[in-house]
Symmetry: C2
DNA sequence: CGGAGTTACTAAACCGGTTTGATCGAAACA
DNA sequence: TGTTTCGATCAAACCGGTTTAGTAACTCCG
C-alpha cells in the first residue's frame, strides 16, 4: 500500500556507480561527463523512474520554478469576465512546456499589497503577471521594491522598467465607432469602465478620439463598473438622451444594456445600435446577436508567460507586440432610424 | 540597488545568541525553550525582518505547502462558467489563512492525466481538488495510485476513499420543476449537460424524478454541452414540440435559449417559461430576468480547502455538508398560456 | 550528599538537489 | 621519460530550514 519512496539522485548515482555530482552534471547536460557514463546514468535514472525533486532544486538554486498571478477583483466580477480563463490557459501553455507552475492568489482588494508581499516573502514565485493595470498603479513601485520580475498586460502610462505585452484596446473601439459612423450614426454614447483602470480610461479615450476622428460631436459617456448591474443602470440613463448608438466597454454591460433597451421599448438595432467588447461566448447568442470586439487573451497569456520566463532567466526583454483586436459585426448594429 | 539577502534562521540565531535549533523551536512554539529566550529570539527575528523560506521548509519537511487544481476544460467553456472564479476565491480564503498556496493547471483534455502526474511527480502540491466529476472518473484511481490526497466536489457514484463536499444539485432542479408545476405547467422539457459529467447526468435525473414526483408525464430531454451554442441548438429543437417550459442545466444555455425563443416569436414567459442554473451575474439583467438556481461556489471552495488541508495534516475527514441550492424566481417563469 | 529526572540548550545530521575544489589517469608535449 | 595539460570523476560544502541525540546545569528526593 505504502508506495516505495521516490528514488533520489543518490539512488541513481549508486545504480550507475558514480557520484551524485556526476549524476547531476549528466542529467543537466553539462560538459565534463563521458558519453559512456552519461548514457549509463540516463539509463539508470529511467529504470528507477527518477524525477527531480522540485523542492530540492528550488532550495539549491534559489528558484521557485513558479510564477504568480494576484487577482484583487471581487469574485462576482471575476466570474463574469471571460478574460481570465483564457489568459490563464495561454499562460499554462507556455509554463507547462518549460516546467513551471502557476500560483494563483485571489485576494480582497484591500489585501492586494499583502498578497504580493506574501508571494515574495515566502519566495513562492520567481515573477508575477501584472493585470488590470490602474492609473498610477502602486504595484510597480512595490514590485520594484520587492525585486520581483514582472510582465504587465498593456503598457503603463509611466515607464515601469518591466516589459509589457502591448495590448491595445484602441483600434477595437475605434473600429466600433467607425462602423457606427459608417452606418450613419451621429449621436453615439459610451458606457465606460471605471476610470481608475487603465483599460477603462483608455477605451473611453479611444472612443472620444474616434468620434473626433470621424468628425462627430462628443457623445455622452457614462462611467460604470463592468458589471451587468452597472451596464443596466448606465443604459437607463442614456435612453433619456437622444443617442442612436451605444458603445459599451465590455460585453457583459452591453448585454445587460440590450435588455434594458428592449424593456424600455427601444428596438435594437432598428432604433438603437449597440456594440460590446470581448466577444464573449454569449455575444453571438443573445438577441439580437451582439456586435463586439474580439480580443485574444489566450495569445496574450502565452506571450506574457514567455516574456516573464525570459526575464527571470536573466534576459533583457522587450515589449511584446500582439495583433490588434478585430471588430465582429453581428445583428445589434444597423443604420439609425430616419430622424 | 541590490537588496541585502534575506536573513536566514542562522542570522536570527546569531543575533539572539543561540543555536539554529533553538530558534526553530522557538519560532514554531515548541516546548523546551525558556520564556526568556523565546522572547529574545522572536524580537531578533522581528528586528531582522526574518521570514521563513518556504523552499527550505518544503525540503526539510517534505511538504509543498500548496494544493493543486487541474482544469481540463476548454478555455472557452471555462470563460463562461461563473463557477471557477468564485470557487477559487473561496479556496484562497482558506488557504491564505493557513499559509498555503494554490497551484493552478489548465490542460487540454487529452493531457489531464499527465497534468496530475506532473504535479505529483515534481512534488509541487500536497493535495488536489477534484472538480467536474465524471461518470467512472479515472482520476480516482490515478490519485490513489499517486498517493495524492484529494477532496472532490460532489460525491462520486462509487465510494472513492476521498472526502467530498456534498454539493447536491437535485434540490435546486426539483425546486425549479415544482415551481413550474405549481404555475400549472404540465409539459416541461430539460436541456441537459453532457451525460458523462456527473453534474450533467444528476441534474437530468433530478429533473426526471421531480416530474414524476409532481405527477407529470416525462418531458423531452435534449443533451447539450453547457455552451451558449449548445443551448441555442437544443432550444431550437424543443420549440417544435409542445412544451410550455424548459428547465436548463445552466444559465448560459438558458440565456441563449431565451434569445432563440424570442427570435422564433415565442413570448417569454407568456408562452414559454424558462429556468436556468447557477444564478450568474447576468441572470437578473437579461430580458425577461431569468429564474435560476443560486449555488454557492465560494462556500464550497472554502469548505473544500478546509477539508483538503485537514486531510493533508493527517486527520480523517468526513464528507462536508453544504446548504442546498435555492431557487431564485424572476420574470422568466409564469403560468402557461391557456391552452 | 549522591543518583534520578527534568529543563534548556547545542551540535550535527538530514531533506535532495547543485556547485566547487581536489584528485587521478591518460594523452600531449618537450 | 619527465612534465604538463586536460577531461572525467569524486568528495564535500552549500541552500535554509527541521529534527534527533547528547550534554550541562538544576531540581527533587531519599
Amino acid at each position: 500500500m505504502t508506495r516505495a519512496d521516490r528514488p533520489t539522485i543518490r539512488d541513481v548515482a549508486r545504480a550507475a556507480g558514480v557520484s551524485k555530482g556526476t549524476v547531476s552534471f549528466a542529467l543537466n547536460g553539462r560538459p565534463g561527463v563521458s558519453e559512456d557514463t552519461r548514457e549509463r546514468i540516463l539509463a539508470a535514472a529511467r529504470d528507477l523512474g527518477w524525477t527531480p525533486s522540485t523542492k530540492a532544486r528550488a532550495l539549491s538554486v534559489s528558484r521557485s520554478f513558479a510564477v504568480g498571478l494576484v487577482l484583487a477583483r471581487e469574485p462576482e466580477l471575476l466570474g463574469a469576465d471571460p478574460f481570465f480563463p483564457s489568459f490563464i490557459a495561454g499562460v499554462e501553455r507556455t509554463l507547462s512546456d518549460r516546467g513551471q507552475a502557476l500560483v494563483l492568489q485571489v485576494v480582497p482588494e484591500s489585501e492586494e499589497e499583502a498578497g504580493y508581499r506574501r508571494l515574495a516573502g515566502a519566495g513562492r514565485v520567481d515573477g508575477v503577471f501584472l493585470l488590470d493595470l490602474r492609473v498610477d498603479d502602486p504595484r510597480m513601485a512595490l514590485l520594484e521594491e520587492l525585486g520581483m520580475p514582472a510582465v504587465s498586460i498593456a503598457r503603463p502610462d509611466v515607464p515601469s522598467g518591466f516589459p509589457a505585452v502591448l495590448v491595445d484596446d484602441r483600434p477595437g473601439i475605434a473600429a466600433a465607432v467607425e462602423h457606427l459612423a459608417g452606418l450613419g450614426h451621429r449621436r453615439i454614447a459610451h458606457v465606460a469602465g471605471p476610470a481608475h483602470f487603465l483599460h477603462g480610461s483608455r477605451r473611453r479615450r479611444a472612443f472620444e478620439d474616434a468620434l473626433a476622428e470621424a468628425g462627430l460631436p462628443a457623445g455622452p459617456v457614462v462611467e460604470a463598473d463592468f458589471s451587468a448591474a452597472g451596464g443596466a443602470a448606465a443604459t437607463r440613463r442614456l435612453l433619456d438622451s437622444d443617442v442612436t448608438a451605444i458603445v459599451y466597454s465590455n460585453d457583459l454591460m452591453a448585454i445587460a444594456g440590450l435588455s434594458v433597451a428592449v424593456e424600455c421599448g427601444r428596438a435594437v438595432p432598428a432604433e438603437l445600435s449597440v456594440t460590446g467588447f470581448d466577444n464573449t461566448d454569449l455575444a453571438g447568442y443573445v438577441s439580437p446577436a451582439l456586435t463586439s470586439v474580439r480580443t485574444d487573451p489566450y495569445l496574450w497569456g502565452r506571450k506574457a508567460a514567455e516574456a516573464l520566463l525570459d526575464l527571470i532567466d536573466g534576459g533583457t526583454v522587450d515589449d511584446v507586440p500582439v495583433p490588434a483586436a478585430q471588430l465582429v459585426i453581428r445583428a445589434s448594429t444597423a443604420p439609425p432610424p430616419p430622424q
